[in-house]
Symmetry: C3
Subunit: 354 residues, 3 copies
């Protein structure tokens, strides 16, 4: 407690992350989060020194799922900070991993995370891990079994590169991009706009965006069909963060009204909690939701608002070519910011006392 | 124009490549190409300093197709010059990419090149890309849709690591190898010898070899069955380069006569333009072409000529064990030269003013 | 011979490995092996300088089979010693390789090792290779066709990362771990305990552990069902090494008796030589061998002995959760030692005169 007081009195109190894992943005206080965003912007602009805080250090990135931006931007971030990076693609050149407790391992999983994770941790200085949810059982996925296994079994810091519920590195880049575009957070309103998609997708990106927006004090409108309102525990958590961050959260099923005067339309698809584990039944529902695609009409309602998406994005399903290729789209800046946000994160985690 | 004059008057005028893409050897003038070959030989022999021109830089290599030599030699070239390298295998751990314009992306392609390429470019200092042709539609493949997308959508230099029609890094190594073996180009004759193969292969390697040979002033004989004469646009382009390079191009269907007194037999299979997109029909034709395999009898006709191939090569289909393991084969030297050629290329692209 | 005398008189006479391949522990004399183990322990404890002996050097690691520990620990070892590492996954992004002599290559193998290996060697300073046995024909596998091809066709040192018969880097880590746990080798007894498994596995790990144990002077008990006694050539080789190392080897089919008072239970499954190439018939046999699983009762018999396994391990098939998670298990230390053992190996191979 004493050290907390001291921290808040100092100009760069990022030591709260030093040597710790980064699993979700709400691991940070609102003040810590916004300061990290500010550091990322300052480093990007060359106003803050970066140096080689990872010199002699190795990050191991473990991917259970595909990745382009995350793989590339995190690998390059590590190398630009002087570190080494190793990438493991589980199930492709690397053994398949079991995470259930107490099982008789006579099936297709060759190794248990209880060995694999401590072994990786013994070679690495930190671990990044991407593991999407199974999308079969909501309460299972809400437990984050694989991320929790890494956090528990690694004695080195773990960075979440997208889990069942969280994609905090994306959210850092998102907040950076909002701040760059609008100069600040207070009084700005962002719309998290559900969009159609050929598949039932996880909630990690929308949840992390909404959480970080709430923490940063952005007003947030979640616009989605009635079947797509996020599960109650997620909504409760969002409201708790909004209370801390001084923001306001609304849920609406009227996308057009939501767009009126908003600063940001953040499009993202996610699966319906009602049809969790039943994607073929959800497909029927989605056939009637093809109008949940961001087009010029929606963007015009914002009166100068920006279009955001984490990428990859399905053109002409989630958003029209016209919006994505138009002046309001800041998705490329948002993607580039992944690199800067992660360099700021790593420099805070490993940069020593500041 | 003024700068061109100055360039031609200076001893190492490679600045024409600085900051530019390298998509095909004919992006260079004959003089620029031969000087680049000379630089590669000089660096290999330790007569030219290499240094660390890529210090602090990152090259991202994007592979849509398998690779051994290219992946390894380009990665190692980058690291030996002080840079970092990241490799993306599209479709394996990385999202599948759509490149068609205006499509509704509700199928199996997750991301569009219009996002993926600028994002990669925002993290990288240069991009290498390998994308083989679809081999379905000749006119489509002649457009080089994926390579063109990279060249257009990246604001960082792009290096072609083999596209539909070109493999310029291979051609650099080929010319280096010819010059090492014969001391020069003028008055030497190389035979591009079509060979049988279990599959219908792209024309990138033979086209780039023939183009570079024409640019360097080598006399070129293309020996192939009548059905395998390269398409008219390729032949026109070759003759245009031969005019610039002061070389002569012949096409013959008589391999034995072509071999008589030649300095180089460069074996390579490629698909018949007549059967483009119909490999099963071409298979019938190939059943009668098994004698298009380079053997000792062909090599004897050269009276001291060298056997070349870009590798990988099908033993006892394209060339006999006896030739490949014999003294006339310089395929290993040719493959090793990939490393040296690419280091010279990179040092010219990123080495600053010379 | 003169140099051998001089070597044995000097404090760090590791030059015997400099510039040579490391294919099996019996490439080293017992004295060389135990000194290498001592060096690894000293480096791990910070009592021996490591430095950057691989500065400017590139290791290429070729994997024909999956790997986690080996891939990661060898890659990180190379980078921590200042070198660059490139990993090739054969058949995934890299051409499939043919190794048979004289074949007409009109099938699914694109490249022959007679080209691929010298080419890799021309780019690399050393090559690591993992190639499991085909498990079809015992005498074929005993010839180590792929490892032999690398050793023969590469003019750069080759490090065996697990072949048909040998996994010497694992054995180095194993001996390191035994020495750390018990302070020495003389008078200690280790049990190589066959274990059940869903698959018929290669003999590389048990053979290398047994060989290194024999070389280091550990007494060795091989406990296995009658059908699983290693093939005669392997037993002969083990006895020859035991004679050199001053150790004693017993074979028993009574696991409990073997465990009595042993210092180490090293569990490992391997295929029955009698059913080589007939895994479905071996499955029948294995149905009655499920009691070959290390449990607390076995460990209690050791009176303070340690449980070892190379990992990955099938929980509750090879060993119970209780043993693996209990105080006697040193498998994580053993896995971590891969990194230290390989750094010691590389520093001896490339560290110049010592």
């Amino acid at each position: 407690m004493a050290s907390m007081t001291v921290k808040q009195a100092r100009p760069l109190p990022y030591t709260s992350l030093a040597g710790r894992s980064f699993l979700k943005t709400s691991d940070l206080t609102p003040a810590e989060l916004t300061r990290l965003v500010d550091l990322a912007i300052a480093q990007k602009q060359g106003r803050a020194l970066v140096g080689k805080p990872l010199a002699g250090k190795t990050g191991v990135l473990v991917f259970f799922n595909p990745s382009l931006r995350t793989r590339l931007s995190m690998s390059i971030a590590i190398e630009q900070l002087g570190g080494h990076v190793q990438v493991l693609d589980v199930g492709s050149g690397v053994w398949n991993l079991e995470h259930r407790q107490g099982v008789v391992m006579n099936g297709d999983k060759t190794e248990h995370v209880r060995e694999a994770i401590p072994v990786i941790a013994s070679y690495a200085d930190f671990i990044g891990v991407r593991c999407f949810p199974g999308l079969k059982d909501l309460s299972d996925d809400m437990q984050e079994p694989m991320l929790s296994a890494f956090a528990t079994l690694s004695n080195k810091p773990v960075i979440n590169l997208e889990s069942s519920l969280h994609h905090p590195c994306q959210a850092l880049a998102d907040m950076m991009t909002v701040k760059e575009a609008f100069g600040g957070f207070k009084g700005k309103r962002v719309v998290l706009a559900w969009a159609n998609h050929p598949k039932s997708l996880p909630m990690a990106v929308p949840n992390s965006f909404a959480t970080a927006a709430a923490q940063c004090g952005l007003d947030l409108t979640i616009a989605c069909p009635p079947e797509y309102v996020p599960p109650a525990p997620i909504m409760q958590s969002l409201h708790a963060q909004a209370a801390l961050g001084g923001s306001r959260i609304d849920v609406t099923h009227d996308l057009k009204a939501a767009a009126d005067g908003a600063q940001v339309i953040y499009a993202k698809s996610w699966g319906s909690p009602q049809f969790y584990g039943a994607p073929e039944r959800e497909q029927e529902l989605r056939k009637n939701l093809t109008h949940w695609c961001i087009d010029d009409e929606i963007m015009r309602r914002t009166r100068g608002g920006a279009f955001m998406h984490c990428l990859p994005v399905r053109r002409n399903v989630v958003v029209t070519d016209s919006v994505l290729d138009g002046a309001s789209s800041i998705v490329l800046q948002q993607a580039e910011n992944r690199l800067h946000a992660q360099k700021a994160l790593l420099s805070v985690m490993f940069g020593g006392k500041r």
